[in-house]
């Protein structure tokens, strides 16, 4: 019934109505439409065209579209007149307000009644200025953004690279990312792009690449998925911040701090050496006096002084060499439990001889951690040795040293707790300074300093909590994130 009605309605349109419909279509179609003759005169145009390009009567098409005085070099209109085939072309013109405009022109031939000659062409143009502007802006953004941007395919070949990347790395397009970024012949271990291809998520990591002129480039890379319809990751975009300069400045600050520390250290070292020299002079003086007076007791006393100060020289040199080693920690995945048991084995006899109870408390859920076994061993022996000394200084019986290890949030914690003589406020300010010792001639003052240095090299920190007369607690905190980041950096 409905179809019948529609059919009836269509057949009822007369010629005039049809012309009206075409006229309406001609005017309302969302294109700028113009009719052009063989002499490039614009002979008709719709309202959109007039609104966009302005007055066209008695004007040539090249004047209206491009404000030119002669036909365009690559004129699509002329081509349609010549070949009789429709043409689609993109072009740049000038609108009636003098603004540059990008448009796509569809040009069709209009044949005469006998269909043997083309009298006119119809040119329908659609402006793409806005789209083009966005494209250009995105291109500029892509190229000029102050970081390296590359798009890589599933085969790890670079399909796009921005200007910053192109100017700092070797030719990239079509080559494997690992070859271009790092001059490798196979994929990098812990490749963040591989992870993104696998799970579609954003991954970040710190990397070191090789740029033009074999320049080392440090960068922080973030990989994101470029999804296609099916949901599979077809491409990954890698955005990297160049942190080479930051690393350089960081190293300069470290170097300045190191030089300042060297000054302090040399002054402290000179002080320690002078004290040892004085002890040696003293030993020599007393031995000599004993020989003159034929006094064996004096000779022995002087000789012991000499021996003690020679030993101190050896200890000082060893401690100093250990402190001065500017090495990076040799991180390995180790068990904190095993390490603590080693220390307890090492000190249990010494502690027992002094009636000190040395024990440990280790959390049952403690996990392996990337640590420098030798470094942490040094830290723990320094702290345990200090704790035993503090217990001896307390001059009480039944003192105790406890070594603890446990997890606290993201941190791995080691603690050495004693109930010995404790440390007062003034002392706490000084214990981590160069060559500070409370042990008189018995210490070089480098133990805690070395401990702090090793802890800091692991990205951790050392804290002390104590009151004079009520023991001390030394706490080493190692953020696991930092440990694993150092571990990965070392692997790279």
């Amino acid at each position: 019934m409905g179809k019948q009605n529609i059919k009836n309605t269509v057949t009822q349109i007369d010629k005039n109505t049809k012309e009206q419909i075409y006229e309406e279509l001609y005017q309302q179609v969302p294109f700028n439409v113009a009719v052009i003759d063989r002499n490039f005169n614009v002979v008709d145009a719709n309202n959109n065209f007039t609104e966009y390009f302005g007055q066209w009567e008695n004007k040539k098409c090249y004047d209206v579209y491009k404000k030119l005085k002669k036909p365009c070099a690559d004129c699509p209109t002329g081509e349609v007149f010549k070949n009789g085939e429709p043409v689609v072309a993109d072009s740049v013109g000038i609108d009636q307000h003098g603004r540059k405009t990008h448009y796509v022109a569809h040009v069709f031939p209009i044949h005469n009644k006998d269909n043997d000659k083309i009298d006119y062409v119809m040119e329908m143009t659609r402006t793409i200025t806005e789209t083009n502007r966005w494209q250009q802006e995105y291109q500029i953004l892509f190229d000029r953004v102050p970081c390296y941007v590359t798009v890589i395919g599933e085969d790890y070949r670079i399909v796009r690279a921005n200007e910053a990347f192109r100017s700092n790395f070797e030719d990239a397009l079509g080559k494997h990312c690992y070859k271009v970024y790092k001059r490798r012949n196979s994929r990098c271990p812990n490749c963040p792009a591989a992870k993104t291809f696998k799970d579609g998520k954003v991954h970040r990591s710190n990397q070191i690449g090789i740029g033009k002129g074999n320049k080392e480039i440090h960068y922080q890379v973030s990989t994101s998925a470029l999804m296609r319809g099916s949901g599979n990751v077809a491409h990954v975009i890698e955005i990297s911040n160049d942190i080479t300069e930051l690393k350089r400045l960081e190293n300069r600050v470290i170097e300045a701090q190191r030089l300042s520390a060297v000054g302090q250290t040399v002054a402290g070292l000179a002080h320690s050496i002078k004290n040892i020299l004085m002890g040696l002079e003293g030993g020599k003086f007393i031995v000599s006096l004993g020989l003159t007076k034929n006094n064996n007791a004096m000779i022995n006393q002087g000789w012991e002084m000499l021996e003690r100060n020679f030993d101190k020289t050896t200890t000082l040199v060893k401690d100093f060499l250990s402190f001065s080693k500017g090495r990076l920690p040799e991180l390995r995945l180790i068990s904190p439990t095993d390490l603590i048991k080693e220390i307890v084995d090492l000190y249990k006899d010494i502690a027992a001889q002094s009636n000190i109870n040395l024990c440990f408390e280790i959390d049952s859920n403690i996990k392996q951690a990337p640590l420098d076994p030798a470094g942490i061993h040094t830290c723990l022996t320094n702290l345990v040795s200090n704790a035993i000394d503090a217990c001896l200084m307390a001059e009480r019986k039944g003192t105790q040293v406890v070594i603890k290890a446990y997890e606290q949030g993201d941190k791995l914690i080691f603690e050495v707790i004693d109930d010995g003589s404790g440390i007062d406020y003034e002392l706490k300010q000084k214990i981590f300074t160069t060559f500070f010792t409370t042990k008189g001639g018995g210490g070089t003052g480098l133990g805690l300093l070395t401990t702090r240095k090793i802890v800091q090299e692991h990205g951790g920190k050392i804290l002390v909590d104590s009151k004079e007369g009520s023991g001390a607690r030394f706490r080493m905190e190692f953020p696991r994130k930092r440990l694993f980041s150092l571990y990965r950096e070392r692997e790279v």
Partner: protein, 128 residues
């Protein structure tokens, strides 16, 4: 003539013993303290005629002792020789560490290791 009493304050026992032996073989009566706390007690007990003082000591520095000594009227005239490894060629910036102008600087500074004759000469000049 009674022997002059000299108190040696140094946390390094070997240094203290050395300085003590030099003095005792030169007819002085020497005493030693290895920390500031016992040194103050010694000052009260023996009333020394002269004090040889080290600076860099663990619990309290020599300056802390020196300030306390000079602030007590009964002890402010005891001559003091500072004997330290921190002294460079006999020079020492005392005011860098003790800015209080009311506290007068010590009589002499001696660099470790001391030269025995120099040490004895300074002591003699202060006690005469």
């Amino acid at each position: 003539m009674s022997q002059k009493k000299i108190l040696i304050i140094d946390d390094e026992p070997d240094v203290a013993v050395y300085l003590e032996t030099i003095l005792s073989t030169n007819n002085y009566r020497a005493y030693a303290s290895y920390d500031i706390k016992s040194a103050m007690e010694q000052v009260e007990n023996i009333r020394p005629d002269l004090i040889c003082l080290d600076i860099m000591m663990p619990q309290e520095t020599g300056f802390s002792f020196y300030k306390r000594l000079r602030q007590k009227k009964e002890y402010d005239s005891i001559p003091v020789i500072i004997i330290s490894g921190a002294i460079d060629n006999g020079e020492f910036e005392f005011r860098k560490y003790v800015s209080d102008e009311s506290i007068i600087p010590p009589e002499f500074y001696l660099e470790k290791p001391v030269v025995v004759d120099d040490y004895l000469e300074k002591i003699k000049s202060l006690l005469n």
